[in-house]
Symmetry: C2
Subunit: 319 residues, 2 copies
């Protein structure tokens, strides 16, 4: 282990100076969490809040990874640096290789202006969201201009992407058909830009019409009108227009003071989650495993209801 | 409002006596949560733990709702009562109508031996899981023989179904193709029975082979070998075999003492979640909104890191 791995301050300094291996090590340290990550984040956090952060979600097979590669290539052509975090569905067959392969296809591998990391969804979903948030802060502090976060949609917690990125892009494909039921009200409400990808195959205009109909039924918390952009990730068609739409949305957020509001909302949620975790950890340190096991037995056998069991564990006054 | 709605004990009594409207009202009361739900559950919980509870998950369009209708019809033919809870993806276009329509198709509507309820995913995912758990306890206490819980898969938290049901069925279709990446390690590990539905259309045997290959790569926490059942929900083919597989799995759980272990694990998770909620509510009651807002501002502007903010909110010794 190098000295830098034991000394977050040195690792942050090396990473900021552009050392590619130090960057990879720093991202791993932050991803793994714990005290070392906390120390590194205390160094990094004051340097962040400059990058354009975009969440990209949509069903499996919509071509998100290929689109990400195209977006990164286009951004590089304009001299912007890009960090990509992909929340990996962890299929035992495909592993984390998909995104890496797509990126390599775009000749971006080896470009120090592009950083790509897949993050496994194994473990708690809440914990994952926090790890992604920390990685975004890290990339932001290291000066990446654009940070793209990819998640697989159609899940119950897909709106979590709106807690990671102030701009959310939903990628769909033509022939929504049966899958329309998978587009939930929640994700519609947090989507700022819609993409109909694979627009060269199938009836993209019909998909646009369906999305517009769904949009007209939903309710937004702001007055942004989400554009619907047709793209073809395989040919690259529409990708510059998508990047324009992302820039427009960011300008809208800044103009309306909504970017600041978003950061405040995020800070509140993070703080409350951290309070929850700390209180629980403190309480668990005071409860013996024998006491807990005995109560679990009583609840499992339905001799005691949950509320009364909680009373016995933590309800004593003055505690 | 009738007296029964104000008096959970009376409502439970009427529902247990078979009053269909009292049952619907009781399920609504439990779903809505709060103190009235807690009181009703305290009455109901000691009567539960007898039903066969099965979770059915899989991607949108796999035909889960139609399959549920077939399963319910087959169970009714054998004199068993069935409660079905469908976690509704809440699409503004399709609403909660899908499941109801499919069930009506099977001529089960109006049969007092079948209870069907769609539950919206709006709101917190954790809260949803708890609501479903409470509905399952309620149906169990009311004497339903089989309880089927349908969720849409491909989500980040799809393994949550294993916390609701000790037997998990994953429904897939032939031509997995691109969507294989959507079948995550997590759901493979918690699936007890695989179904290849729409087996009459497309190459079901290839899908079976792919699933078998994925299974051989995964690791189970027990020695159950998950069967793969081919069904056609539209014709009903394979449905009796699926119900046999469910019975076999339940017999396995009981034989190995795993059903009891599952209930204990579930009670532990519920108890710890309730402890978390109570501690947080207690702490928030002590924190002024001005104090919280000031700290949120400092965290949002990166002047204060999260851990230090938590210290200031709750870290004081003796508190």
């Amino acid at each position: 282990m190098s000295r830098a791995e034991l000394d977050p301050e040195l690792l942050v300094c090396q990473a900021r100076a552009g050392d590619v291996r130090a960057r990879a090590r720093l991202f791993s340290l932050v991803e793994n969490g714990g005290l070392a990550a906390q120390n590194a984040l205390a160094e990094l956090a004051p340097l962040a809040n400059h990058a354009c952060v975009v969440g990209i979600t949509g069903p499996p097979g919509a071509g998100k990874s290929t689109l990400l590669g195209r977006m990164a290539a286009e951004l590089r052509r304009h001299g912007q640096t890009v960090a990509i975090f992909a929340i990996d569905p962890s299929s035992p067959l495909t592993g984390g290789a998909i995104l890496g392969d797509r990126i390599r296809m775009q000749d971006l591998h080896g470009d120090p202006g592009v950083f790509v990391r897949s993050i496994s969804t194994r473990g708690a979903v809440g914990g994952l969201a926090r790890a992604v948030g920390d990685l975004v802060v890290t990339a932001d502090a290291l000066g990446y201009d654009v940070i793209l976060v990819e998640t697989v949609g159609a899940g119950q917690d897909e709106t979590a992407i709106a807690r990671v990125a102030p701009t959310v892009v939903l990628v769909e494909v033509p022939h929504l058909g049966d899958d329309v039921q998978a587009i939930k009200a929640g994700i519609l409400e947090v989507t700022d830009i819609f993409v109909v990808n694979k627009a060269d195959r199938g009836d993209a205009d019909q998909a646009v019409a369906i999305l517009r109909a769904m949009l007209s039924l939903g309710q937004r918390h702001d007055d942004w009108v989400p554009p619907i952009v047709k793209t073809s990730a395989t040919t690259g068609d529409g990708v510059p227009r998508l990047l324009d739409a992302i820039r427009d949305h960011r300008a809208y957020l800044q103009r309306e003071g909504r970017l600041e509001a978003w950061h405040r909302e995020r800070a509140r949620a993070d703080l409350l989650a951290a309070v929850r975790d700390r209180l629980f950890a403190q309480a668990m340190a005071r409860i013996s495993s024998e006491q807990l096991d005995a109560l679990v037995d009583e609840v499992a056998s339905r001799r005691l209801d949950l509320a009364s069991a909680v009373d016995r564990l933590i309800g004593e006054p003055g505690c």
